[in-house]
Amino acid sequence: MANPETGSPAAADVGLPLLRIRGLGARFGTVEAIKPLDLDVNDGEFLTILGPSGSGKTTLLRTIAGFQPPSAGRIEFDGKDIADLPINRRPFNTVFQDYALFPHMTVRENVGFGLRVRGTAKAQLNDRVDAALGIVGLEEFDARYPSQLSGGQQQRTALARAMICEPRLILLDEPLAALDAALRRQMQNFLKTLQRQSGITFLFVTHDQSEAITMSDRICVMRSGSIEQIGTPRELYYRPKSRFVAAFFGASNIVEPCRIHETRDDATIVETPVGQFRISGPPPDSSSGLALAIRPEALGPEDETRVNTLELEVVAVSFVGSETITELRHRRTSQVFTMKTRSDPAARPPDIGSILNIGFDPAECALVTEAAN
């Protein structure tokens, strides 16, 4: 089970991952939807595949599930190669984006389908369906047809159906995409709790970074068919390796070009067009297209923690409720920065055109490269 403090999966040190993917690729004709990639999914973890539309998330999931033949590579489950295993023999199940509930079957029949096709005895089947319906809180709805359910109920039916055969791994392709915001948050909590209590490994696809951050033990960021970075939500949030990941997690202030001036034990000093800064941690392995990524909320008035400083001119100020967003400009280079601060009811907003002394914490910025690998 995951450790919520560090976000690192406890099972990681057990050794053998539950799902081991090596050099897996997939193509549609000449389009290489997935370039050969490696991925380990540990037993009991909640691993999210995150990426923009068209980055190959669905294709990766479908290839693992067996709906899509791989063009290269191997998939091992529990140490055994499953490449040649037909879909209906694979020891894991899928929750589809559109749920794919069978319209002509009741909730009970839908949930029990996996057992029925395995020839499970009627009494046992009913007991297990009851148990599964209990877990997702749909006991009352067992006689309904999918069309008579709300979106959230359909979602939970699909979940119960995927869980009925007690798979060790469940694949979920944007299962919350069709739900409205409130229901979505509720289902996020439900899914997360369910995953922890059941101990089933979840491989979850989304393109929503906040959803990924709140739910996952680890996140795997995909970009045009390759894995950009894998890590805990914290690592990706505070230590993005590439501009792409930084931007995806909202670190929108990119300063470039960067040159490494000096490398110390615990920090790196970099030279940029807007000044010399100190960054916590060692520099990245590669230095191609090196840039400095700073989160908008890391910027603030210069103080004892925000030791990296620069003078910036106020261009625009917008009040967005709990936060205030300030557009700033570096006079000499015209580089624009965005600063996000807590709104202060007492303070007067700065005048447009005024010069502020802005600083940021060496721990709240990251050195990123063009691409992660």
């Binding site: 067996g66 709906f67 899509q68 033949p69 879909i87």
Partner: protein, 284 residues
Amino acid sequence: MTAYARMVRPGLADCLLWGAAALFILIPLASFLIFGFFSVVSNSIDYRPTLANFDELLSNSSYRTTFFRTMRMAFLVSATNLVLGYATAYFIWQRPPAWRNLMVIALAIPLLMSYIIKIYAMRGVLGTNGLLNSATMALGIIDEPVSALLFNLTAVRITLSVVLLPFMVLPIYVALERIPASVLHAASDLGASEIQIFARVVLPLSLPGGIVGAMFTFVLASGDFLAPELVGGIEGFTYGRLIFSQFGLAFNWPLGAALSIVLMIVALGVIYAARRFGNPRWQR
């Protein structure tokens, strides 16, 4: 390729389906096309290819006359039915839902009724002792029964019109019913008058149905030989009958096939035109 696609083994499916299609649709059609290039010599078929049938077709003016007369008749049937059918479909569409369903079912009943019987029934209406004569006589419109109603091309036209009417009304009605109510509301919300709504929204959206109906009507009317045979008499000789007779008394199958090739080309042309114009760009 999805799992579903792999459920059907493409090679096997193609073999099976195309095999059956070839055996019962394609090869028969091909053999009929080839037959048009054979000839009959002393009551048996001569399998040496020749263009004689087509030569005959072009040079014999009675074939040409029959052809054009039949096409003209089929066109008139289509045009008449387009007008009648559109008005009827529109009227049905304007009724409350319960009425609509009833009226549509009432249209479908004669559609599913034996073709022969409908033609036979028309004979009862058009004949000298028929309903039309009796009624007009009873009303004092005419004194003597009119015999001109039966056994001529007009009788064929009227009969085909009546028999094929459901083929026109139904597609138009389906097209009208597909127009979302919100589109009509939007149009009137934007200030369009009833006539404007009809001309600018309803008509363009439902005309494809009319084109499909006209296609069905034309293709069926142009190739029909039953109605002409039963109500047309000698005067109502049509192209369909001409073809059919080659397979009966005349026993000239190759000529019949050649005549049918012309009919098929016309039919395919009409079908193609209907696909093009009855399937506007915003629907493709």
